[in-house]
């Protein structure tokens, strides 16, 4: 354009007319010539196009009429040009008639006529909208993508950075970098060394580079950047290198984070020995990580990745089931989650748990399956063992008749094994379960004590450990022992009780037997002890006397006294003898019963004794009444019965009241399996309050009677008890006495 302008300036006059020809009209630039009144004298076709002017003929028209949107600034420039001042505007935004934005570049100069007088102005315009727009877009793109540009002119050693680059480096927009300054922005150490090398290679060998490195900005911030560079060669020598500079900090950091996470995942799956696999359905290829091979017991080369190859390693018995489940997964019915056995090449069988997800493409067709495998052989074996143990427990509980039960507090339900039903005498189908239902089975006597035990356990003071009676529907009473533990949830509330029950009826009954036996034994022992004391006392008395008397005798010289002493010795030795005899009698009674029991008719026995004692009765004028049914028969040792009856008869006579005629009455009745004989008299009676405990004791006398040895009733009692009977006494002083005798009926 400048060339053209020079030409025009020199040949003004000659070419003046030429301008009205098509020369200007067809000029390849946008040019217009205005007269002093700013009316068009000539213009190029391109000018019309530039300003989108529809009119074909604008010569003579006022400029501002034709182009109404001319900015004021431009008008002033036109004026100045009329006065001889040129103007050169590099860029001006312009909105034309249609509303489009235009960027124009102007040159306005005064136009002199052939005489050199100012004839108007000439305007050259260039539409730089496209380039401007491109520039703007590029700038915007730079900003958005945070890519800046850079250039190093090797001739001038000028380093040029775009605004975006400067922004990344956090330097001022106006900052002009010095040569090679860019390298110093890279982090010292491996990053700086790297970039230096890359630039060197680029310059010397023309190798382009594309690298991600760390920089330290002018403000001291560390940033990841991607720097690209390429060289421009001219005649075999590098004239400049240029490239881009991009802030990839956030992306890089994400990438690093991702790598870290991936690393952790790897470690985790490593530790957990989880295998990860991916199967491409279309291509029928699976990709395995290293763990998968371990899980299947094969080497990497042992597996070609095909579906068939994998399937061949599955245990034959499981193949069918797996196919069925896979179908469901492919249909999208569910995610894959199953276990199966694999057979290793060496024959080992392992249990594998497989979990996978189906990936579909955009059309919804199955694309890939990705999943995990892990070895659950140990768990499976543990489970089997558990089942085994549970079975054994069941058998053991069955054999030992032990009930095992569980009570769930949250829903008031019981879980009982068969034995618990048996123990409680109920049938599984008939028993509803629940606390109240169970409680209704407990014996009324034990309701209270079982409740108390439960309270203590609920408080946490101890584990349950008690026994109680249950009443079966058929009326049977069984004793049950229960032991249990209370389980609590995290909040400390009871949620379950597990326990055992077993039947202790036989044990309890045996206990009862034992207790009775013990009581009897104790009594007998006491009797024995008493007896021993009594006997030893009496033996000692007599023997002590004997030794005392004989020691006197040895020293006695007086003949009278000696006679006296000898008489007393005689008495003492008789006493001793008698005591020994009594001893014998009692021992005899205690040991000699069982073989000699016989059925005896009571009436007959009584009549017999009465006859034997008739002389005494006559002498004492005793009235004797025997009011005994002839049908009463009892089991007794005949000699003992005689002795008992005789003793009672003679006692009644001995202890008859002095002021009245002795009366004796004997009657009998049946009570259960016993014959009860009542033996009454109207004698002196016994003060039972004072002597009641001692009446059947050995050597106990109460009446000061000469004949009383105190042994009769003792022996009588022993005899009747030896025959499984008992004797009781009722008496009122000075009224009479009644002895009640209990014999086994025959």
């Amino acid at each position: 354009m400048e060339y053209l302008f020079v030409v025009l300036e020199n040949k003004t006059s000659v070419l003046n007319n030429l301008f009205t020809t098509d020369f200007i009209k067809t000029a390849p630039i946008s040019v217009a010539i205005l007269d002093k009144n700013l009316c068009f004298t000539s213009y190029s076709k391109i000018w019309l196009k530039e300003f989108n002017i529809k009119e074909k003929k604008i010569v003579g028209k006022y400029y501002y009429d034709v182009i109404p949107n001319t900015p004021e600034r431009l008008k002033r420039v036109h004026q100045k040009a009329l006065q001889g001042k040129s103007s050169n505007i590099t860029a001006q935004r312009f909105i034309d008639l249609n509303g489009n934005i235009q960027w124009l570049k102007w040159k306005v100069d005064p136009w002199n006529d052939y005489e050199g007088n100012n004839a108007g102005i000439i305007i050259f315009a260039e539409d730089i909208t496209a380039t401007t727009r491109k520039k703007e877009l590029l700038k915007k793109a730079e900003n958005i993508s945070k890519i800046g540009g850079w250039e190093l002119d090797l001739a001038t050693h000028q380093l040029h950075w775009t605004a975006a680059t400067k922004k990344i480096l956090e330097v001022a927009n106006e900052y002009i970098p010095k040569t090679n300054e860019d390298i110093n922005f890279y982090k010292e150490g491996e990053h700086r060394e790297k970039i230096a090398k890359l630039i060197d290679n680029c310059i010397n060998k023309g190798e382009s580079y594309d690298e991600e490195l760390l920089i330290i900005t002018a403000l001291g911030n560390e940033l990841w950047v991607r720097t690209k560079g390429e060289a421009e060669f001219h005649k075999g020598r590098c004239v400049r290198i240029f490239g881009t500079f991009q802030d990839i900090d956030s992306e890089k950091k994400n990438e690093l984070k991702y790598k870290e996470t991936a690393e952790r995942l790897k470690v985790a799956t490593n530790a957990a020995k989880i295998g990860i696999w991916e199967f491409d359905i279309a291509k029928d290829i699976s990709v395995w990580d290293e763990h998968m091979y371990k899980l299947y017991g094969i080497d990497k080369d042992g597996f070609d990745g095909s579906d068939a190859a994998w399937r061949s390693m599955i245990h034959p018995e499981d193949r069918e089931r797996i196919r069925t489940e896979e179908k469901m997964v492919l249909n999208g019915e569910k995610d894959l989650n199953h276990t199966y056995r694999v057979v290793w090449p060496n024959g080992d069988i392992r249990h594998i748990q497989s979990s996978a997800k189906l990936l579909k493409d955009e059309n919804g067709s199955p694309l890939k399956i990705i999943g995990t495998n892990w070895d659950i052989t140990a768990i499976k074996e543990a489970n089997l063992k558990y089942t085994e143990v549970a079975e054994r427990l069941k058998i053991a509980a069955n054999a030992a008749q032990i009930g095992i039960w569980e009570y769930d507090f949250t829903n008031d339900s019981h879980v009982w094994n068969d034995q618990v039903y048996e123990l409680h005498g109920v049938k599984k189908e008939e028993f509803a379960g629940g606390y109240e239902a169970w409680r209704s089975l407990i014996h009324p006597e034990d309701q209270e004590k079982t409740k108390i035990e439960e309270e203590i356990v609920m408080k946490g003071e101890k584990d349950l450990d008690h026994n109680y009676k249950v009443v079966w529907p058929n009326g049977n009473i069984r004793h049950i022992h229960a032991k249990a533990k209370l389980l609590r949830d995290e909040k400390g509330n009871p949620f379950k009780m597990i326990g055992t029950n077993w039947d202790i009826t036989e044990i309890k009954e045996a206990e009862e037997e034992l207790r009775k036996l013990l009581k009897v034994t104790n009594e007998q022992n006491n009797n024995l002890l008493n007896f021993a004391h009594i006997v030893s006392h009496n033996l000692r008395s007599h023997s002590a006397n004997l030794s005392m008397l004989s020691s006197f005798l040895v020293n006695e010289e007086n003949e009278e006294e000696r006679k006296n002493l000898i008489k007393m010795i005689d008495e003492a030795s008789s006493g001793l003898n008698e005591t020994v005899q009594h001893l014998n009698q009692v021992v005899h009674v205690k040991t000699n019963v069982n073989g000699n029991m016989a059925p005896i008719n009571l009436y007959t026995a009584l009549k017999n004794v009465e006859k034997n004692i008739s002389t005494l009765f006559k002498k004492k004028e005793v009235i004797c009444e025997i009011d005994v049914p002839k049908s009463h028969n009892l089991k007794a040792v005949p000699a003992y019965l005689d002795s008992i009856l005789l003793n009672l008869f003679t006692n009644s006579v001995k202890y008859s009241a002095p002021n009245r005629q002795p009366q004796i009455m004997v009657s009998s009745k049946i009570e259960g399996n016993k014959v009860v004989v009542a033996f009454s008299d109207n004698g002196q009676g016994i003060d039972l309050d004072r002597h009641g405990r001692k009446i059947f004791g050995m050597y106990k006398t109460f009446h000061g009677n000469e004949d009383a040895k105190g042994i009769g009733l003792f022996i009588t009692k022993n005899q009747i008890e030896a025959m499984n009977g008992k004797i009781e006494v009722e008496s009122t002083v000075n009224v009479g006495t009644t002895f009640n005798l209990y014999f086994d009926a025959n």
Binding site: S536, H537, R540, A544, N545, M548, F552, F702, G704
Partner: protein, 136 residues
């Protein structure tokens, strides 16, 4: 308590005549006391001693009481004897005599504060000498 050179009166309550003869003989040998009274059973002893108290007369200084007697044995006697109101009872020493070796008897004796001691038959000279020492 007055200290005496010898015991004035000793009372023996025992139903065994041979034993009574023996003990009297030994007492005389060692000059145990001035006077010896004998009762054959608890009842008669209780009656007699009771009337002594009622008449305001002095009770014996020593009582030797046998446990095993007819009609009223030693325990019953004791039960009734301690009920007799008497100002003389502190001066009275009571000894229980018995051939019994029953430990429960010994225990029972401890329940009667009036009982000084328990003496097992046969009673020896040393027993009586010892008694003398204690009382005089």
């Amino acid at each position: 308590m007055e200290i005496k050179n010898r015991i004035k009166r000793a009372c023996i309550i025992d139903d065994d005549p041979i034993f009574v003869y023996g003990i009297k003989r030994i007492m005389n040998e060692i000059d145990f006391c001035d006077e010896i009274i004998v009762y054959a059973n608890g009842e008669s002893a209780l009656n007699e001693l009771g009337s002594l108290v009622q008449e305001g007369k002095k009770l014996p200084d020593v009582i030797l009481l046998d446990l095993n007697m007819p009609v009223m044995d030693g325990w019953v006697f004791l039960d009734d004897f301690v009920k007799i109101p008497s100002h003389n009872q502190e001066h009275l020493s009571l000894y229980l005599l018995t051939s019994s070796i029953n430990p429960s008897d010994i225990e029972k004796a401890k329940n009667y504060p009036i009982v000084n001691n328990f003496i097992s038959k046969p009673v020896t000279i040393s027993d009586l000498k010892h008694m003398l020492k204690e009382l005089v």
